[in-house]
């Protein structure tokens, strides 16, 4: 071979001086075709003036072939394909290295085959490796892999696992279409999405409720399926009673949950009791962050509940709906432009009005309750780089008492989102939304007839970016800004004859902004998710602010001055640095240990002095007197899956400190109070506990068990010696379990059992009379508890035949759900009240009150065509 060296001859069609290294790659090699040694060949090329860079001792002693009339690029590519060398162009030099596979990024989305709807949280796994990714909140993923062939496994709960091969030669955009799983029973599909998500996710303490078309959540009271009801069966999530709508997550208060519907905050998540505003028909995915709050979120001290609406079928029109004792619902969806854009519209109307009227004893004093909600969504996916969404929610509740008093309240939101792929590795989301919560009370009662209104409106712009370096390594950053406008109350005469005055409380203005950056990365068996959020809050005018005597607590009598702020003038500024950290140590294939720390700040507070919030409670911004609430949570958990991920389990410990909670004085007057600060007390709270979770995900029998041992308590800051008092909603033990069993293709049954320690109660030590009113006298707050709460529910789902009598497949699907709530008719005590005995006045009697003193049957019918 050496003999060739002397006769090697190389000429270039293009002189190097005429082009850069890229164009040099396209020059022809005129070395005599045939086999040559690699190193001398490269040296010859280099000697001819081509800017090759290599170190001889790192290259293999290989033989290469040169083809007649081939370009340098072609030659190098062939050597790369033969796995001899790799090359790259850097700084006008062509670097030659020992062979190393090249990396390419595949990005794209996972969609439902039938409807083309984006699937959130679908798992993409490369077979035989630990490499993988999960689709984000918009259904997108990005994964950087070695070139070549890979077997990809795409899994999503409620869908058949898709195994497919891809050959990666360059950066590419892929849409994986998966088919709904119609065989497997998905009655109680809740929690982790990926098969081993429980173990591998680096966001600890997330409860996930997946409400896809193929799965139906555990039916609850009166046969209705409800998001909040189902959330309450998860560890660490509680409500104070069966009639209370607010939820408490890891000892947090009801206003400390950031509830997002398609990114817009919902201020009152319930219609009546525990019937949530989320129409299950229109909801796709519910994620509850209980511990670690990703830096992209903030603004509440306890948790984030993220609800995403479904997108609508891009390929065919369909209708679904149902009717039950409580409500009737109908949903329509379909393509606007087939495969490119779709719409979804759904409406729900309450039905229990008639039942109330028939029970009401007289025609005059009857009470009428009703609610409606409407969900709308339009999305367009004109090309692979852009997706646009427009979604809205409009809810209304109406409660009429007697002839002439009507209360209306409701949330409305409108969100616009634009998902854009700048490059295969850079994903962006831009959202703009308006969210409003308002209520109106109309009382036509002469002569004091009035109309009072209150509203909170948020205008927000938010932007998020995700940059994926390589699998399991991505950077998230973004900003958000919310302009809050709160009208605490306007009260006007109902008409010209009414003897009431117009009262308008000052509108409050606040700008809540944040910037965040976080990285998810791995090092050995450790996965890290760390970053921070820097949040700011500006409270600005126009507003009138009272000045109180510095020596006394704020009260009506200590006002010494009033300062008037002009429009846009800063009244008070707060800012907070909120670090967040989560570490997942993958001990082995089946288990991991996760640690997390989150700090959050809350600049908005619900003003309520009842045990559970009322729809007419108002929200208040942090201001000169009311500081932001700050919370810090530490958690550690062990996660383990068994039997090919058929079973998953976890145990988690948490400790949470909450500083500057807002509380109210006894008998505080919170309605139309222009100086609320005089009724406010600041306290501090802490909560801690352990949560156990065990779930069976596959098979004829599916379900889970959850147990929480916890404590949540507060004390007033100024009293350091004073011990903590347990919170009203604290439940020491909280156990729930849900199982579903598929009996046949058409019949399945499910059952819930819940057990919880009774909530704290304050018992009177004494009684006395004042003007013949028997008054209970309470000494120590929350020193006793109600009796333990337990309840068993049962439901049966019966599907109509799939086939007609002639054997052909029916076009429609329909099913009935029968439920029994409180099967053994336990009289669970909701509360005690203390009153004078009717039979012997002057004596006190304790009455236990049960909301459901009996078994409550329910039935719903659902269809789809």
């Amino acid at each position: 071979m050496n003999r060739f060296r002397s006769i090697l001859f190389l000429s270039l069609v293009l002189a190097f001086s005429h082009g850069n290294a890229q164009s040099v790659l396209d020059s022809l090699i005129t070395i005599t075709s045939g086999n040559h040694s690699l190193k001398p060949t490269l040296q010859t090329i280099k000697n001819s003036g081509i800017p090759l860079a290599f170190s001889t001792n790192r290259l293999p002693d290989a033989e290469v072939s040169i083809r007649k009339g081939e370009t340098l690029r072609n030659f190098l590519e062939r050597q790369h394909t033969n796995e001899i060398i790799s090359y790259s162009v850097e700084n006008s030099q062509i670097l030659i290295k020992r062979y190393r596979p090249r990396k390419f990024t595949i990005n794209g989305r996972v969609s439902d085959t039938g409807s083309d709807e984006h699937l959130i949280g679908a798992n993409i796994q490369i077979k035989g490796t630990s490499l993988g990714s999960t689709t984000n909140g918009y259904g997108y993923f990005s994964l950087t892999l070695d070139e070549g062939e890979h077997e990809v496994i795409i899994s999503h709960i409620g869908y058949k696992t898709l195994r497919t091969e891809i050959e990666l030669k360059n950066n590419s955009y892929v849409v994986f279409n998966v088919n709904p799983n119609v065989v497997q029973l998905e009655e109680v599909e809740i929690s982790s999405i990926a098969n081993d998500d429980n173990v591998i996710s680096n966001i600890p303490s997330v409860s996930r409720l997946n409400i896809s078309k193929t799965s139906i959540l555990t039916p609850y009271l009166l046969g209705e399926v409800d998001v909040i009801q189902n959330a309450l069966l998860q560890p660490g999530i509680k409500a104070i009673g069966e009639d209370a709508g607010g939820i408490h997550i890891r000892g947090g208060r009801v206003d400390q949950n950031l509830i997002l519907l398609d990114e817009a905050p919902i201020y009152n998540p319930v219609h009546v009791g525990q019937v949530s505003v989320f129409n299950p028909e229109a909801v796709n995915d519910v994620k509850i962050f209980k511990g670690f709050i990703p830096p992209a979120y903030g603004g509440r001290a306890s948790s984030v509940i993220e609800v995403r609406q479904r997108e609508g079928n891009k390929n065919e029109k369909s209708f679904s709906g149902g009717i039950g004792v409580l409500s009737a619902r109908l949903l329509a969806e379909g393509p606007i432009k087939k495969g490119k854009s779709s719409f979804l519209a759904s409406a729900r109307q309450s039905l229990f009005n008639p039942s109330i009227e028939s029970f009401a004893n007289t025609s005059v004093r009857k009470e009428r309750i009703s609610f409606q909600d409407i969900n709308l969504k339009i999305n367009s996916n004109p090309n692979e780089r852009n997706t646009y969404y427009l979604s809205g929610y409009f809810g209304n509740d109406r409660n009429a008492v007697g002839f002439n008093s009507i209360r209306n309240w409701g949330n409305s939101t409108m969100t616009f989102r634009w998902n854009h792929l700048f490059s295969p590795k850079l994903f962006s989301n831009l959202s703009a939304f308006i969210s409003e919560y308002s209520y109106k009370v109309e009382s036509e009662e002469e002569p004091g007839a009035f109309v009072s209104t209150s509203r909170i409106v948020d205008y927000s712009l938010k932007s998020d970016f995700t940059y994926s370096f390589k699998p399991n390594n991505e950077l998230n950053f973004g900003f958000s800004s919310i302009f809050h406008r709160l009208k605490p109350g306007d009260r006007e005469p109902f008409d010209i004859d009414a003897n009431t005055n117009t009262i308008r409380l000052d509108t409050e203005h606040g700008l809540e902004s944040a910037f965040y950056i976080s990285q998810q990365t791995e090092a050995g068996p450790f996965l890290f998710n760390y970053g921070f959020r820097y949040s700011t809050f500006h409270n600005f005018g126009p507003e009138k602010v009272f000045v109180y005597s510095p020596d006394a607590l704020p009260s009506d009598t200590t006002v010494i001055d009033t300062v008037t702020f002009s429009p846009g003038q800063l009244i008070k500024f707060y800012d907070n640095f909120e670090p967040r950290l989560a570490v997942n140590w993958r001990v082995n294939q089946n288990s991991s240990i996760k640690l997390a720390y989150s700090k959050t700040a809350q600049y908005l507070h619900l003003i309520s002095n009842t045990r559970a919030p009322a729809p007419t409670d108002i929200w208040k911004l942090s201001d000169t007197f009311i500081p932001p609430t700050i919370s810090e949570q530490y958690s550690v958990g062990y996660y383990r899956n068994f039997k090919q991920n058929m079973w998953e389990s976890s145990i988690e410990f948490y400790y949470k400190d909450v500083l500057k909670n807002i509380a109210y004085k006894n008998g505080a007057d919170l309605i139309f109070n222009e100086n609320l600060e005089t009724e406010v007390l600041i306290n501090e709270g802490r909560s801690y506990g352990v949560e156990l979770f065990l779930k069976k995900k596959y098979g004829k029998l599916t379900g889970w068990m959850s147990y929480t041992l916890s404590r949540s308590e507060t004390r007033f800051e100024e009293d350091d010696d004073i011990s903590y008092i347990v919170n009203d909603f604290d439940k020491t033990h909280d156990f729930s379990t849900t199982w579903a069993l598929k009996l046949s293709e058409r019949v399945s049954i499910s059952s819930n059992f819940v057990f919880a320690t009774g909530i704290p109660v304050t018992l009177p030590s004494d009684k006395y009379t004042f003007e013949n009113n028997l008054v209970p006298h309470f000494v120590e707050r929350n020193q006793s508890r109600l009796p333990d709460f337990h309840r068993l529910d049962f439901s049966l789902k019966w599907k109509a035949r799939k086939f007609k009598k002639d054997g052909s497949l029916r076009k429609n699907e329909d099913f009935w759900v029968f439920t029994l709530y409180n099967v053994y008719a336990r009289r669970n005590v909701n509360s005690y009240f203390f009153r004078a005995s009717e039979s012997s006045p002057g004596l006190g009697e304790i009455v236990q009150y049960s909301i459901f003193g009996t078994i409550v049957p329910g039935i719903t019918y659902s269809f789809k065509f």
């Binding site: 009639d243 509740d397 005055n501 009842t610 030590s765 304790i846």
Partner: protein
């Protein structure tokens, strides 16, 4: 909303049951009840003691020395008349704008006093008229009955924070259902006619309808509001949290010993009419 739920539940499935549960130990606190009106009459004060919530009726205090002092003026002495009640030895009235204080010396020698409290100006009832409505008679299905109720014309004085309490009487007996403590402040109608709708207090033909409008102090209003919230709300999710009803009385000899109750003033205007 809680109200809706409760109503929904009550109508459909809820239940109530009287129970006996262990309670914290009794405190036996002194309870003072007294009002001074602007009408010449024998004014009253009542003294009793709290006892266990599940215990017998409250014991009364018989041997105390009771007097009401006018600031920079004479005192009125009270004597025990039974049932825990003490009446002023002579009829007298509180003078508008003056300050009064209740002083008690208990049988054990402890001095107990209220804070100084002012008598407000009376707000006059201008007119009492009888209104009516028809409703289905629950006792006779298919029949309707006429319900009578009072409507009051009274004007609030402008630019002054007024606090009111109403009392309704049927044939001399105070009506306590649906509520015995009816309170109003003039935040929403300052300077206007005082809105009132007493259609929940039913009268029939031949009844003597009597209404009293009491102008009270802010302290009395706050006390009665808290008392009302602690005695009348159903203890469900909507309820206020249980609290001690703090009044304006303290034990001067033993400041650490809590005294319950209130000594207040009221300027009364009343009107009555027989329903025809």
């Amino acid at each position: 909303m809680k109200r809706l739920t409760i109503i929904l539940a009550i109508l459909l499935f809820s239940c109530e049951e009287v129970v006996v549960i262990p309670l914290p130990g009794e405190q036996n606190l002194l309870v003072v009840e007294g009002w001074l009106t602007d009408a010449v009459e024998r004014q009253y004060v009542r003294l009793s003691r709290s006892n266990s919530f599940s215990g017998p009726t409250n014991p009364v205090i018989e041997d105390a020395t009771v007097l009401v002092q006018l600031r920079n003026g004479p005192s009125q002495t009270y004597s025990y008349v039974g049932g825990g009640n003490y009446l002023s030895d002579n009829p007298y009235r509180g003078i508008q704008g003056e300050e009064y204080r209740l002083s008690i010396v208990l049988p054990n020698g402890d001095l107990v006093r209220s804070t100084w409290t002012t008598i407000e100006s009376t707000t006059q009832i201008v007119l009492l008229s009888v209104d009516r409505f028809e409703e289905n008679d629950p006792d006779n299905p298919g029949q309707t009955k006429t319900v009578f109720f009072p409507r009051i014309t009274a004007r609030d004085s402008a630019n002054y924070q007024n606090y009111y309490r109403w009392m309704l009487f049927r044939n001399g007996n105070q009506l306590t259902d649906p509520e015995s403590i009816i309170l109003q402040n003039d935040r929403f109608f300052d300077g206007n006619f005082i809105p009132n709708l007493f259609d929940a207090y039913e009268y029939s033909i031949g009844d003597n309808m009597e209404v009293e409008l009491h102008t009270i102090t802010k302290e009395a209003f706050d006390y009665l509001s808290l008392l009302k919230s602690q005695t009348s709300t159903l203890s469900a999710a909507a309820s206020t949290t249980p609290a001690i009803v703090n009044g304006n009385i303290s034990n001067v000899s033993k400041p650490e010993e809590m005294v319950l109750g209130f000594f207040g003033t009221r300027a009364i205007s009343s009107a009555s009419q027989v329903v025809r």
